[in-house]
Symmetry: C2
Subunit: 433 residues, 2 copies
């Protein structure tokens, strides 16, 4: 589906030739209630950073063809359907800097059924959108979890929309949640499996981590047995492998306030190690706030690796553990900051030093780049990314950072926040290289 805002997030980028950055472009949806012939599109003016490019200076692309204003006015046989965005191209040698820009457009459309005195109809739209400019050879790989788009998935975004957006912002990895994004889970149709492979190929994405659950408290009267837990995990290992994923994160039911996993976890995972080896899957439970790195839960996982000698089990770090400032300010961002007691434990500043990673780094296989906010200056007020990046680089980590936006869920906010996070990551890459 298109973004309901006229100015779309997806597609805002600099334009280049072989040897130069020539300008920038953005996508707008048709503000009319019908599609129209291209000759009735009378150009678009664009304002960014106090400079305006008039409707005579920009060009537009409709259905694959680029038009200047005179060409638009004289055009025949071309259209701007409601279901397609129009690309607006702005000449600007060097392009725009990466980051958040307030972009304004005036879209001029002519409607013969209105008196000529009122023509063209001009639709003004204005919006802060983020231009991401990925570095050519980053130290880490970047991905996005569909979790970032919670509440927008299946209401505003199809799975394909989400994948297109992830690819558009320059990420290469796609992380999904099994029982969220696989229709007919746990038994998707073969047609859907084929569609999935076609979709990731089209958007040049690599399936990374497959979110899985071992629902130890499925029923009120008894817990899952280890055998049942293993069956849930094996089911997802098979499905993840079929879909081309490399990691499976089992979210294991807990038995305490500090998230000690149900004791079945050990046997449930052990029963799946041969299958994981066969399917080239690494099982990776997450280290998630309020559990720090130096904790019996992590010790238990490390002991498991030692004991079994497995190569198919590793640690997944959720970067929420590094928070130096609590994140909860009321989910709608309008509330006053809550007192520390009101803040749910996983959102409190756990303040794990990034240097705590060093001891466990050889077992860290995946990082969920959990975050709650990146502001318009590309600053994250909660998580000390520079420290985290420094340790990861120093330790030679070359795996994925997979965005997990978990802040307020206003429509489209997750999309914009993930774009900001990636713009910030690439800025850090440039600074630290």
């Amino acid at each position: 589906m298109l973004n309901r805002d006229i100015i779309q997030n997806t597609g805002f980028r600099n334009t280049t030739t072989a040897d130069a950055v020539t300008g920038f472009q953005l996508e707008v949806r048709n503000p009319n209630y019908r599609g129209i012939a291209s000759s009735l599109v009378d150009g678009v003016s664009v304002t960014v950073g106090g400079h305006t490019w008039t409707h005579e200076e920009t060009t537009v692309v409709l259905q694959g063809r680029e038009f200047g204003l005179a060409e638009l006015r004289a055009s025949t046989g071309h259209r701007w359907p409601l279901t397609e965005t129009m690309t607006v191209k702005v000449p600007l040698p060097g392009g725009l800097p990466a980051g958040v820009h307030v972009v304004a457009v005036d879209i001029r459309l002519r409607a013969p059924y209105f008196p000529i005195e009122f023509q063209p109809n001009v639709t003004h739209a204005e919006r802060a959108v983020t231009l991401v400019d990925p570095v050519a050879s980053p130290a880490f790989q970047y991905g996005v979890s569909t979790y970032s788009y919670t509440d927008d998935m299946y209401t505003l975004l199809t799975l394909e929309d989400a994948l297109a957006e992830v690819a558009d912002l320059g990420a290469t990895g796609i992380e999904i949640l099994g029982e969220a994004n696989v229709p007919g889970y746990p038994n998707p149709s073969t047609a859907w499996i084929d569609d999935w492979h076609a979709l990731v190929a089209k958007h040049r994405l690599t399936p990374t981590n497959f979110g899985s659950w071992i629902d130890s408290r499925m029923w009120l009267d008894r817990d899952l047995t280890a055998k049942e837990g293993a069956e849930q995990l094996a089911r997802d290992i098979n499905l993840a492998a079929t879909l081309g994923f490399s990691f499976v994160r089992p979210k294991i039911g807990v038995i305490s306030l500090d998230l000690v996993p149900h004791p079945i976890w050990d046997e449930a995972v052990a029963r799946c190690l041969d299958l994981a080896a066969e399917k080239n899957i690494i099982i990776a439970p997450e280290i998630h706030s309020p559990t720090p790195i130096r904790h019996e839960v992590v010790d238990g996982y490390l002991e498991f690796i030692d004991r079994t000698g497995t190569k198919n089990f590793g640690l997944l770090i959720d970067t929420g553990i590094f928070m130096t400032k609590s994140a909860f300010q009321g989910w709608d961002l309008s509330g006053t900051p809550a007192s520390e007691e009101e803040i749910p434990p996983p959102l409190r500043a756990l303040k794990v030093p990034a240097s705590d990673l060093v001891d466990i780094m050889k077992h860290v296989v995946f990082i969920q780049a959990k975050f709650y906010e990146v502001d318009e200056h590309l600053t994250d007020p909660h998580i000390p990314w520079r420290e985290v990046f420094n340790v990861l680089k120093q330790q030679g980590y070359t795996g994925y950072l997979s965005s997990e936006y978990e802040g307020p869920r206003q429509p489209y906010r997750g999309i914009e926040q993930v774009r900001r996070q990636h713009a910030m990551f690439h800025q850090l890459e440039r600074e630290l290289s």
Copy 2:
């Protein structure tokens, strides 16, 4: 796509057996970020009009199967995917009265990966939604134009979503805009044409009116010739007939502030009369504010009918002409009422008496039930529907009233406003029968 609100508009209705109204039901989307096993759904409580039905008193339907609370808790093999709504059924002999209700739900879900002390997670949602209760043998036929859902189409709603909603509120007619809702217009694929027929059959809808344009000012340097105008109209008559429509409304370019159509209209329409007869299409230009019924434009159309003796041309009434109060209050409803001079002419109270219909009634073939607001008491502050209905009944009109919501375009507002309008129409039907 699902409504982003937890409580959906579509599906709110009374439940019946063969001889009684037994309660009501509504649809909710899954407030979690993943789908879950049905045993982790711990029921839903519902509050309407000060009365609460607890999670032990309601039942839910997941994937076609109805569950009480104990059955839910013990269930295996059933799920609540993110992509599907859950039906919540509430026992209430006699059901709810038609109209707007503030409905609140508390959806209880269990998450084994959260400490048991915090379980179940309860999601509270509250929303004013409209229950429509169509009369069994209405005097008129009711339809909806996709125009009502402008800005929501292709951003929040697929065409199928729109058709499902139209069917859900009890309407039988679907009106579309050609160059808006036909992918690949003017040449949709045969696959899409097949899909369209399957879609209207599935939702038991009758295609009514096909919105068309004669874009007289396609280019700045010259107007369309009558022959070119006829080609645009013929193209749409053919397409409308292929899709099963009975009416084609050409929106003709105008040459004056009071919307006098371009003089090519006469020859352009005349050239299409044989085709329209062959295809069983009635061409019906709209009488639209600020043009009243007693006006040279209407006289011209009547003269055309007299002169040609055609049965394939009639009048379409847009009910905006009957407004007794101007509609413009700032499109976001937050502005102070504009002065009359600021109000665009079509939104000013034209105050055409409904009795003016009498003289032209034998040529009125279709009515677009244009409106800007129906309030929570099912009152339209702008249009005197009782008078309009009285004249239409007295004149023996049995055709369609096809909703054209044209008020503020906040997300999902059009859906809710059309539901209110239909609830109001059925209330009027009962009062006047």
